[in-house]
Subunit: 75 residues, 2 copies
């Protein structure tokens, strides 16, 4: 397992991301389109199967209209 994948903290991170997307009323497909990536990409990182680097994280936060800092605070 690379980096933080699989750790409780990483899982929590992903959970926060998923919850944020849902609260914003976005589907994986919509986020994927904004990111110019396939839906399977979103499914993968939301399931913790693939790590997100910091730049990708910022882009995703923008795609779902949330402030990245609000998630970092909880890690």
């Amino acid at each position: 397992m690379p980096g933080s994948l699989g750790t409780a903290r990483y899982n929590r991170f992903v959970e926060l991301l998923v919850d944020s997307r849902k609260k914003g009323g976005f589907t994986q497909e919509q986020v994927a389109t904004t990111l110019r990536k396939p839906q399977s990409f979103v499914a993968k990182y939301e399931r913790g199967e693939r790590r997100l680097d910091v730049v990708e994280f910022v882009d995703i936060c923008r795609a779902i209209s949330i402030n990245p800092a609000n998630i970092l605070k909880k890690l």
Copy 2:
């Protein structure tokens, strides 16, 4: 190249991390020790040869006593 590695934005991200470390007066060795990783690990991500996931980023920010949000703002 995976994720955002190699992009101008990622390079800037790493540059901000390096500058922050130096301003704080930390060596790669010190950061590595705090992270319980080898110095080559720090050298690698600072050179943009390895991606940092979000949890790792937060840990590094703590190791060099900076606020993660201050870096995210600039991406």
